[in-house]
């Protein structure tokens, strides 16, 4: 443990080896899963288990909450109109009862988007290997966990064996230095980095986000950043735990206390990457040059500063040209169009990316300055976030400004619950994916930060939130 001769290791390497049970003859590692998070999309894997007559090996390492298909108009089961979504929620309830794992169900204040609930409950802790059948599981790495999304068959494998076969990813470090400018958030940093390295630029890698900018981010900002790591194709995103992380965790329901806290803290403090730890790829970025970002296309790398323009396909390198034309065609945009001033039809503030209390505060600061001229909904990331926001009076600010104040869930990020953007309509969204059809068939998504989305709601078009603040 304290061998001075040991080669320096990255945080990722430390957590990986701490969970490695065995290796097979061709370099696949059987990993022990510390915590497994489940949601209403887990119906398929549980059915696979049933078909094989298998059961959950360690139910006390499984935590679940319904989020993907749950309604945001209310949390009553009666409001789930789609029978298949209702089945997904009720089968999660039945599976929790049958297999004996913890469920934060609809009606429980601890319910919410699984990636908001994990950190909020203190389930997400530094040094843990966490998996979930959802790609945005990368979020949890913000507290110094190794967390990644898996498919349904892998979920079934984890349920039955509490393990997962994985080939070890490579390590990438993204070091960001300098102060983010006024009105520039973790979301903008994430979109800036994805635009730079590409939508699959970190494939096969775990990204450790480092540098003064990342250390200056709040834990919630780090959650946003790591959430978007998957949009660069990364297996996971991570930030080294520090005093901010520890303060965030203290007193959380599932956080250790007393002597346990001290034991946990000693472990957590051993996790940050050692000086000289090797990384397969190192990327450096200057935070001071980043502006609020907006996507113009159909994947998150197709993003530019809000002060920018829709690209000219003719000016693009060969191989990218057709992709740009295709994106512009779907988005109904002409080359060279400025982003500022682009008319927007509706606004979504929510999702595992941007629906924590700080996100809602940032949006409310803007919302209180005017009134939404287009439909805008706010869906808090969890029921506890919703309650905290209501205690602060944020709900009143949003409602007074003409925004709809909804229940928590994945909502319009994936549109599974029926919260959809109609075909051809343009949505300013704080979510994470602008894929074709993501928010509804033919829907046109522009990703941006909560403050930028709120500003778009007031103006009915894309505005630079920095101008708005200065003018106000």
């Amino acid at each position: 443990m304290m061998s001075a001769a040991r080669a320096p290791r990255s945080m990722f390497e430390k957590i990986w080896s701490d969970h490695a049970i065995l290796e097979d003859d061709d370099g696949q590692t059987l990993l022990f899963v510390g915590r497994h998070l489940a949601h209403d999309g887990s119906m398929h894997p549980f059915r696979f288990l049933d078909e094989k007559g298998q059961s959950v090996l360690y139910p006390d390492q499984v935590f679940a909450t319904p989020d993907h298909g749950t309604p945001t108009v209310s949390h009553d089961l009666a409001d789930i109109r789609d029978p298949s979504q209702l089945t997904a929620v009720t089968s999660l309830q039945a599976n929790a009862r049958r297999h004996g794992f913890q469920l934060f169900d609809l009606g429980d204040p601890r319910q919410g988007i699984v990636h908001v609930v994990g950190p909020e409950q203190g389930l997400t802790q530094p040094g843990l290997l966490i998996v979930c059948g959802d790609s945005h599981t990368s979020t949890h790495g913000a507290l110094g966990a190794l967390a990644f999304g898996i498919g349904a068959s892998e979920v079934a494998h984890v349920l039955a064996t509490q393990t997962l076969w994985q080939r070890k990813p490579k390590a990438m470090r993204v070091t960001v230095e300098g102060e983010l400018g006024y009105g520039v958030t973790a979301k903008d940093l994430a979109l800036f980095l994805i635009a730079r390295i590409g939508v699959n630029g970190a494939a096969g890698h775990v990204i450790e986000f480092a540098g003064t900018t990342v250390r200056s981010l709040s834990v919630e900002g780090r959650l946003t950043l790591c959430n978007m790591a998957i949009e660069a194709g990364a297996r996971a995103g991570m930030v080294a735990p520090d005093d901010k992380t520890f303060r965030y965790l203290q007193q959380r329901p599932y956080a250790p206390d007393g002597a346990d806290w001290q034991a946990a803290l000693a472990h957590w403090k051993s996790l940050p990457s050692d000086e000289g730890a090797p990384f397969d790829i190192e990327i450096a970025a200057d935070a001071t040059t980043i502006a609020p970002m907006v996507t113009w296309g159909t994947n998150p790398e197709e993003a530019v500063p809000v002060t920018g323009f829709v690209p000219q396909p003719a000016a693009a390198e060969e191989g990218r040209r057709e992709a740009i034309v295709r994106s512009l065609d779907y988005m109904g945009l002409a080359p060279g169009t400025p982003l500022v001033g682009l008319p927007i039809d509706q606004v979504f503030i929510g999702s595992c990316t941007n629906a924590r209390i700080e996100d809602l505060r940032a949006a409310a600061v803007v919302a209180r300055r005017g009134r939404a001229v287009i439909p805008a909904i706010v869906s808090p990331g969890s029921t506890l976030v919703k309650r905290a926001a209501e205690q602060e009076g944020l709900d009143r600010i949003f409602k007074d400004a003409g925004f709809e104040w909804r229940e928590s869930g994945c909502s319009m990020c994936c549109g599974m619950n029926g919260d959809l953007v109609p075909a051809g309509k343009r949505c300013a969204s704080t979510s994470n994916r602008n894929f074709p059809g993501r928010q509804g068939k033919g829907a046109r998504t522009h990703l941006m930060s909560p403050a930028m989305a709120a500003a778009a709601a007031l103006a009915g078009r894309i505005v630079d939130v920095r101008d708005m603040a200065e003018a106000g």
Binding site: T163, R167, G204
Partner: protein, 210 residues
């Protein structure tokens, strides 16, 4: 149990755009369908069918020569996006057993092997030429030999591809991972006991606050 994959000779269809994400492969509104009901009609649903559910005749898999495709020749970043395994189910249920592309989304890549879907990485320039050749001679079959790790282009050129040994073995045998892993159950339990002792604070839910 996945179907074993040894050799394949099948019509190949060109997928001529980049970033074929999982929402394109399998739109979210179908994700609750039981696996046993099949996902073939879901593949590329919103590109394949119009608003009334009628086939769009210009979509590649609706063209007569490509309807029976068993192989897709694509471009960069195939399968990026969500963890939904239905992206793989839709492909295999349609009859696609192999996708050749320049790169793949990580989670999609891991999901594919569970269902006997072979993913072959190939150079973008080779892929572009191959897609052109397939469009010029629609219905041309390609052949793949997993044991030899080769695929043969429309022009009859045999090219080698890399596949990790473990992935290859799983595909060749159609292995069920859970059954295989459970053979190591005693070792897993020993590890778990030791881990749960070492990180005991993680397992004291009875004392949890709130």
């Amino acid at each position: 149990m996945p179907q074993p994959f040894r050799t394949l000779s099948a019509v190949a269809a060109p997928v001529d755009w980049q970033n074929v994400d999982t929402d394109q492969l399998s739109p979210v509104r179908f994700l609750r369908r039981p696996r046993s009901e099949g996902y073939a009609d879901i593949l590329f649903h919103d590109l394949r069918f119009d608003g009334q559910g009628a086939e769009r005749p210009d979509f590649v898999l609706n063209r007569p020569a490509f309807r029976s495709a068993g192989i897709l020749v694509a471009d960069r970043n195939f399968g990026v996006g969500s963890s939904r395994e239905s992206a793989v189910w839709a492909l295999v249920d349609f009859g696609i057993r192999c996708v050749v592309a320049a790169s793949f989304g990580d989670i999609f890549f891991n999901n594919a092997v569970k269902h006997g879907l072979l993913l072959v990485r190939e150079d973008p320039a080779v892929l572009q030429a191959e897609r052109r050749a397939l469009l010029a001679a629609p219905g041309t079959p390609l052949s793949i030999d997993l044991e030899a790790q080769t695929w043969t282009t429309a022009d009859g050129v045999t090219r080698r591809f890399e596949v990790e040994p473990g992935r290859k073995r799983r595909l060749l045998l159609g292995l069920d991972d859970i059954e295989t892993t459970l053979q190591d159950l005693p070792r897993i339990r020993r590890f778990a006991e030791e881990y749960r002792e070492r990180r005991s604070w993680l397992f004291k839910h009875a004392t949890m606050k709130g």
